[in-house]
């Protein structure tokens, strides 16, 4: 039996974590499981809202089973009963299944995530707070004026040099992907204007600040926030994972692409290497039986009616749902309450499906799994995010850079593959959205193959934050 104790820091810090381990081993050994074919994985899931039961079973191809425990929630549960259920296999677990087995990136949790951004105003109205308040620290790191000043002064330095060589383009493009409520853009542009006045080169009048987001609602709100810079700002609907579709015209022109807290919110698969074999982690969203009954009861419908209603919610959103199904949701508020109850109850089952060769796996439309080989092979058992959405976005963004341009991105990044052995990095729930830490070493590797250096540094303007700053710029 392999026992994988991942939360090494927590085990040192927390007596609760340590004391949970012994009973788990006892209970597993007392179970009828074939211990020779069993893997036991212990995590400490830091997200209070997540997709996991305290104990879950995962078939590993046809060679064994993995039972995963959340140490944070194992102290007060009937371990034997949970293990018995985990060993029963996904097909025998009660509840309402919302989708077939799919790769992580194709799960309906991403439809919920999309709905959150599209219907954000309704969600915020129901919770009484803006989404920024649900971020750690209560505000986006993007609003930090000192960070903006640092970046702008560096741009001025580059532009001065290019101007001296008569190589400075007439239009100076800056792109922000994922604009939130526009506070970042406002802070940045205000600082830019002030610094430009002091600098005296009139760069502000050559500036083209492009705001890209896939939500027209979010864009409109951001546009209002920068109304006093309106003649310098354009707003574009951009699919974050395929920026070049909308922004192809910008190829080779962007001096700065600024991205804040976007990548951790994009769809991802996970791959696992277990005993030398590589697996794709498949997931299946479901509602536990009790949760499904409770939610159906609140709507006054049968549990069997939930699945089509959920699909309708995800297709048309809460506002139209109340019009389309007034018998179940009399108004938008009730539809949002239904949505939030679903979201809170949403769980994922998992299983490991063998991968027939890394090149048979498509990371993005233009990138095969071959790129993963240096990270996933030859390093023992590991499970890692592929960060497909982030990678698609990142690789689509790099060609937009001017030869002297850079990408700067504040997000939740792992900076070493080793971290996958020592912690849990998602998926979790942030308010109504999904969060996964981004596979930083993978972005670094892909960028390197394309001639860009990627550096990671702690977010300097807020020490102690989990946020890491990625900087990418052309090498050589």
């Amino acid at each position: 039996m392999d026992v994988d104790l991942r939360p090494v820091r927590k085990l040192r810090e927390s007596a609760a974590a340590r004391s949970a381990v012994g009973p788990i081993v006892e209970a597993v050994c007392a179970s009828p499981a074939d211990l020779a074919r069993l893997r036991v994985v212990c995590d400490w899931i830091q997200y209070k809202q997540n997709f996991r039961e305290p104990v879950v079973g995962r078939p590993v191809g046809d060679v064994g089973t993995e039972i995963a425990f959340d140490l944070r929630r194992c102290a007060d549960i009937d371990l034997a009963a949970h293990i018995k259920q985990a060993l029963a296999g996904p097909a025998d677990q009660p509840g309402v299944t919302l989708e077939p087995w799919v790769s992580g990136r194709d799960s309906c949790i991403w439809r919920f995530n999309q709905l959150y951004w599209q219907a954000l105003s309704h969600w915020e109205a129901a919770t009484g707070r803006e989404y920024e308040q649900s971020l750690p620290g209560g505000e986006s790191d993007a609003r930090n004026a000192e960070a903006a000043r640092e970046l702008i002064l560096e741009l001025f330095r580059i532009w001065d040099e290019l101007a001296a060589r008569r190589a400075l383009p007439e239009e100076l493009y800056v792109l922000e992907l994922g604009v939130g409520n526009g506070n970042q853009a406002r802070t940045w542009l205000d600082e830019f204007l002030a610094l430009d006045r002091r600098h005296g080169r009139e760069y502000y009048h050559r500036l083209r600040y492009l705001m890209g987001d896939y939500s027209p609602h979010v864009l409109e709100r951001a546009r209002r926030a920068v109304g006093h810079h309106a003649d310098r700002v354009s707003a574009l609907v951009v699919e974050a994972t395929r920026p070049s579709v909308t922004l192809g015209f910008l190829a080779g022109k962007a001096f700065l692409v600024y991205i804040s807290n976007v990548y951790d919110n994009l769809p991802t698969d996970e791959l696992a290497c277990v005993q030398g074999r590589t697996y794709r982690v498949e997931t299946q969203a479901f509602l536990a039986e009790d949760d499904a009954d409770r939610i159906a009861g609140q709507l006054g419908c049968r549990t069997g009616e939930l699945v089509p209603l959920i699909d309708r919610l995800l297709r048309i959103g809460p506002e139209l749902l109340s019009e389309a199904s007034p018998d179940k949701c009399a108004d938008t508020g009730q539809a949002v309450a239904f949505w939030q109850a679903l979201w809170a109850a949403l769980r994922l089952r998992e299983r490991y499906v063998p991968l027939e060769g890394l090149d048979s796996y498509q990371v993005t439309p233009t990138l095969t799994g071959e790129i993963l080989r240096p990270l996933i092979e030859g390093h023992g058992d590991v499970r890692m995010h592929v960060s497909n959405g982030a990678l698609g976005s990142f690789t689509g963004t790099l060609p937009l850079l001017h030869p002297f341009g850079r990408v700067q991105c504040h997000d939740l990044f792992l900076t070493s593959s080793q971290q996958y052995r020592t912690g849990f990095y998602g998926p979790g729930k942030y308010d109504g959205s999904v969060v996964n830490w981004v596979n930083g070493p993978l972005l670094q590797l892909v960028a390197s193959r394309r001639g860009y250096d990627v550096a990671y540094a702690p977010f300097r303007q807020r020490p102690g934050s989990n946020i890491t700053t990625l900087t990418a710029q052309a090498r050589d």
């Binding site: 060589r165 390197s448 001639g451």
Partner: protein, 351 residues
């Protein structure tokens, strides 16, 4: 020579599997001998691809080279490379010179081996052997390209020369010796690539001076290729070819090979403005874009160039090397280029 001859700039598509094998070598997981054999097979395939596409003047695809710089620096005596393993084969080495490069006996003008004398090959860079391998693969004319002294110098940390131009000149003399060996081996079309020059337009006079040192007393057709960089299929710089003129008029070369497909044909005005009376290698294929041009588009680019150059001084080629294109894309682009040239050739013949 056929009217509007088609050729390549130099490098050919490096398939993903070959990149992986090359990286294996630089991480010391396969031997140099195995890599050499694999490279030879790849070169044979590249030459065959070009022949099948109908290219008139072919190249070895530069498939032995890890990149446009290190293949040479690693062979030049006096260039020190502390770490020769690489995380990826295409990465550049950190190279340095700490003392002036050793001069070959006969390197200095007026002190070279005369006719009938053999050059000292003990410190040869081995380019003649590379050429001879390609020569015996095909009956078609072969272009052989190598990176010029100015661009090579930009990847060397110079702690030896007080006057930076002296490093460029020393490299040029070394390349001149190599060019003599290439000519002795039968090469008759040599091309100097200066991919870094566009980033340092203020040094164009030095670069031209160095080009002339390379070509000195080497009786072949000389081409000079200047582009805006093609590393990782993206330009390293932007701008226009104005910086080349009039300095490049002093270069003792027979052809100027420039990129036009990606940048547009506006810079053709310089050819007329400065009365460039030698050959022009017209870039008609964008090597940074995987979208394959239609033959008609290629033809339209050639027709436009004919407004500035007579057809008998126009060579048709891609903008730059094809190394970053997928093999199938490279093949289709070459076929489109050949078809486009054939269209215009037919039009000219019918007039």
């Amino acid at each position: 020579m056929v009217l509007l001859p088609t050729t390549v700039v130099g490098s050919y598509s490096v398939p993903e599997w070959l990149e992986r094998v090359k990286t294996e070598y630089y991480q010391r997981r396969i031997s140099a001998q195995h890599l050499a054999e694999i490279n030879e097979v790849a070169i044979k395939a590249a030459v065959k691809d070009q022949e099948l596409a109908g290219i008139d003047i072919v190249s070895d695809g530069e498939l032995r080279r890890d990149n446009d710089v290190d293949y040479f620096l690693a062979r030049i005596p006096g260039v020190h490379i502390p770490q020769r393993a690489k995380a990826d084969y295409f990465d550049y080495y950190d190279a340095e010179v700490t003392r002036p490069l050793p001069e070959l006996a006969g390197d200095k003008p007026g002190d070279r081996p005369g006719d009938g004398q053999s050059a000292d090959t003990s410190t040869s860079l081995g380019l003649a052997a590379d050429f001879l391998f390609t020569r015996q693969l095909t009956d078609r004319p072969v272009k052989f390209s190598f990176t010029g002294p100015f661009s090579l110098s930009r990847r060397i940390r110079d702690e030896a020369y007080t006057e930076p131009g002296d490093l460029v000149r020393a490299l040029a003399r070394r390349l001149n010796a190599e060019a003599r060996e290439l000519a002795a081996a039968g090469a008759d079309l040599l091309q100097i690539d200066e991919p870094f020059l566009a980033g340092y337009p203020e040094h164009v006079d030095l670069a031209v001076e160095a080009v002339n040192l390379v070509t000195e007393d080497v009786p072949v057709t000389w081409a000079l290729h200047v582009c805006y960089g093609n590393r990782y299929a993206r330009p390293s710089w932007e701008g226009h070819y104005d910086f080349l003129f009039p300095a490049v008029q002093a270069a003792r070369v027979d052809q100027l090979v420039l990129e036009f497909a990606r940048k547009g044909l506006d810079d053709l005005r310089l050819i007329r403005q400065y009365d460039w009376d030698r050959w022009l290698g017209l870039g008609v294929i964008d090597v940074k874009n995987p979208e394959v041009e239609a033959a008609e588009l290629v033809a339209s680019r050639i027709r436009r160039a004919l407004d500035y150059m007579p057809a008998d001084r126009l060579m048709i080629n891609p903008d730059c090397g094809l190394r970053h294109l997928a093999p199938d894309v490279a093949r289709r682009k070459l076929r489109a280029m050949v078809a486009g040239a054939a269209q215009v050739r037919a039009e000219l013949a019918s007039h």
